[in-house]
């Protein structure tokens, strides 16, 4: 009998451990093992040089320290090296922690709850600001803000400036000019233009793409477009980036920057381009669920396809692919044409999802030390060299013309931005209601590709989902 009692107690203890295990995981999120941590060597001398402090900032950074929660794993080691160098020069302790890919929000949530919270972190736009506004410091008086070349890019609320973009990116349709030249050299081509640069609207694009798809064996490609990747978490090029275009035009017509409800007046244009992608691809529509972004970038790099929709950050993936056959001078950008009236003047989609914020709940010394550090990064030779090389196009006036990125896609983005005949499409997806909205839209698009649902369900997910999610997030 006693044995039975003991075993019942033991199993009860087991139940509670197992269950509490999962209860605890969901509630605290403390066990993030994916973060790589680098604490710099002890450098806590009290003598800190206040060299870089802006005159309009009153607080002192004496004794302050910096903790930067980095968003980009691909440049983690560079940030760490930069931080170490700063510590060496100024004696200010800078700690850089990098969140693993796709886990920034989770990591930030758990890190901010600690006593030693990040003093410098980043948000992804107005929606990110809504969730982190209790933690964002007003940066309007800083040099950092005054250097911003286009002040409208910053996140403002009333008179305050709470998020400053530190890198601008652009996306469009990347094409391999070699394959395009091969196509335009064909005697039996169905179009009368002679180079990809002459594609100025959706009708031309469609004619070229469909003819190329029909002649894919002649061109030695497997399809015109790379796989429209729909693997879990790999659908952001469609439910976020591509979905930006109809929203951009709708907001432009209504002259707003956000809305509680949308009509999706440009829904047909969205369908135009999406259909073109999935019908002229190297992968069968029903098998897109297995493809990742990396797969499609590899298809492009290996010369199996002529076009892929992505941004200037994709150059690393293209050049880094084993067996890459695409020459740097052949990589070009084409704006995403969707058949909107007057789209001949449309440029690339240029914007940012990377805004730096200073933690308003950190001590004043830490805040000042953080601002000093950021200003050093974007105004010292060492910092600027890092920014140009590793971050891309930086929107600050402290950078001169020869300090612009030199990779082919970065150059293309700059070229499009400087072309005064073209208007860049702004990134309105930063106003998309929530991750759930994007996920649902992605699911609807995948169902449409699979043929298990029609385009109406995509429209429903877009319009109704927008309204629902805006309401849900507003509460």
């Amino acid at each position: 009998m006693k044995k039975k009692l003991v075993s019942t107690l033991l199993s009860a203890a087991m139940v509670s451990t197992m269950l509490m295990g999962c209860g605890g995981e969901a509630s605290t999120e403390e066990s993030n093992t994916d973060t790589q941590e680098t604490t710099d060597e002890a450098a806590d001398e009290a003598e800190t040089e206040d060299a870089e402090a802006g005159e309009d900032t009153t607080a002192s950074s004496e004794g302050g320290k910096v903790y930067y929660l980095n968003f980009k794993p691909e440049v983690a080691s560079d940030w760490e090296a930069l931080a170490a160098s700063y510590t060496e020069q100024t004696g200010v302790d800078v700690k850089v922690v990098t969140a693993a890919s796709g886990t920034y929000e989770q990591t930030l949530k758990s890190e901010v709850a600690k006593t030693d919270a990040p003093t410098l972190f980043q948000i992804n736009g107005p929606i990110g600001y809504q969730s982190w506004k209790d933690y964002c410091l007003d940066l309007s008086g800083t040099d950092f803000y005054s250097w911003l070349t286009d002040k409208s890019l910053a996140i403002t609320d009333g008179d305050g400036v709470y998020g400053i973009p530190y890198v601008v990116e652009g996306y469009g349709i990347i094409y391999n000019d070699k394959i395009m030249r091969d196509y335009f050299a064909l005697a039996d081509k169905a179009v009368d233009i002679s180079s990809a640069a002459e594609i100025k609207n959706f009708d031309t694009l469609k004619a070229v793409v469909e003819d190329m798809q029909a002649k894919k064996d002649q061109l030695g490609i497997e399809g015109v477009f790379a796989s429209t990747s729909f693997k879990a978490g790999e659908d952001w090029r469609w439910q976020t980036h591509l979905a930006n275009l109809p929203i951009y035009y709708e907001f432009k017509d209504k002259a707003v920057s956000d809305a509680q409800e949308i009509e999706l007046t440009y829904g047909d244009n969205y369908k135009n381009i999406f259909d073109l992608y999935i019908n002229n691809s190297c992968t069968d529509k029903a098998q897109l669920g297995t493809k990742s972004v990396e797969d499609s970038m590899a298809e492009f790099a290996l010369g199996k396809v002529a076009m892929v929709q992505n941004g200037n950050w994709g150059w690393g993936q293209i050049s880094g692919t084993d067996g890459n056959v695409v020459a740097a001078e052949d990589v070009k950008f084409l704006p995403i044409y969707t058949g909107v009236e007057g789209e001949e003047g449309q440029g690339l989609c240029v914007g940012t999802e990377n805004y730096m914020c200073v933690n308003s709940q950190a001590s004043e010394a830490d805040q000042q030390a953080t601002i000093d550090f950021v200003e050093w990064v974007f105004n010292s030779d060492e910092g600027k060299a890092f920014a140009t090389e590793k971050l891309g196009i930086v929107p600050f006036s402290t950078f001169t013309d020869d300090e612009k990125p030199s990779d082919p896609l970065g150059l293309e983005v700059s070229r499009y931005m400087e072309d005064s005949a073209l208007t860049s499409v702004s990134w309105n997806f930063t106003a998309f209601p929530s991750q759930t909205f994007k996920d649902e839209l992605g699911y609807a698009l995948l169902d449409y590709c699979n043929g298990t649902a029609d385009w109406d369900s995509v429209t429903t997910a877009f319009v109704d989902g927008w309204k629902l999610e805006k309401e849900a997030s507003a509460e």
Binding site: A113, Q287, A472, S473
Partner: protein, 281 residues
């Protein structure tokens, strides 16, 4: 000896107790409190009462996930236990190479859930693309059966070991006596072996039931809920709620508390029922 043990008991138990309190008891009660709050991070919670629970139950994703989880649990508990028990019977018959087989069957259990999920995704996709030309995300039932196969593959070995231990503990004289009384193999199995290994059943049922209900890694890696959350189980749904929308952290937490109550009730009921069927040795 006994005395010394008594004397030092608190000292030996203390570190574990402290760890248990910090890692389990405190987060558990914090979790219950947070489910009644609107919060962004665990330190800036604002009490709002039962609103989160109302939202959680009004959320159709949660109910779909619950239904999917229940279906999955029923099927996997039955298949895992039946197959594990059959294997155990087979491997206690003294077949040549028994030890090798036992090791082989046990090994899948040593691989982590995420890795397993990705490996099985490749295998299943490979077959599906060849045979029907679609992938696992095409149809929720592919994902469902994929998960069942995966969990069976992973868990049968472990449960089998427990059953083997149970079967080996059946006193040989009982089986011999049954034979002398003229019992057939089926009768011996039904009336002697099964009642004698009832305690193994209790453990295996408990483990498979809770494991299936709380499944997360395998679900995330194999389908991640695709297509359209139709293969998302409860744990994954809670996770998605937590990170999917700004301001819905409390709702995710409320779902987690409901989840806890469901798992606790089901597993305790199961324990009481199977316990009552056990016979004292």
């Amino acid at each position: 000896m006994q005395k010394a043990l008594k004397k030092y008991f608190p000292i030996f138990a203390l570190p574990t107790l402290i760890a248990f309190v910090i890692a389990f008891v405190v987060p558990f009660f914090m979790g219950i409190y947070l489910s009644l709050c609107k919060f962004r991070t665990v330190t800036n919670a604002e009490f709002i009462g039962l609103g989160n629970y109302a939202k959680a139950f009004a959320n159709k994703d949660f109910l779909n996930a619950l239904l999917f989880t229940v279906k999955f649990t029923v099927v996997s508990v039955i298949t895992i236990n039946v197959l594990a028990f059959l294997l155990a019977l087979l491997l206690t018959k003294g077949i040549k190479g028994t030890n090798i087989f036992r090791t082989v069957f046990f090994m899948p259990n040593l691989i982590g859930g995420i890795v397993l999920g990705y490996i099985w995704q490749l295998i299943i996709n490979g077959i599906l693309l060849k045979v029907v030309g679609q992938d696992i995300y095409y149809n929720p039932s592919y994902g469902f059966w994929g998960l069942i196969i995966l969990m069976n593959w992973q868990q049968i070995g472990y449960m089998m070991i427990i059953y083997v231990a149970g079967i080996q503990n059946v006193p040989p004289e009982l089986i011999e006596a049954a034979k002398i009384d003229g019992a057939t193999t089926w009768q011996t199995l039904k009336s002697v072996i099964v009642p004698m290994v009832m305690s193994s059943f209790t453990i295996c049922m408990f483990l498979t039931l809770t494991n299936s209900f709380k499944l997360f890694d395998q679900n995330l890696a194999l389908t991640a809920g695709l297509p359209a959350r139709k293969t998302a189980m409860l744990a994954l749904d809670i996770y998605n709620t937590f990170y999917g929308r700004t301001g819905w952290e409390g709702v995710g937490q409320a779902k987690a508390v409901v989840f806890f109550v469901i798992v606790a009730v089901i597993s305790l009921t199961q324990l009481v029922i199977t316990r009552s069927k056990e016979v004292e040795n």
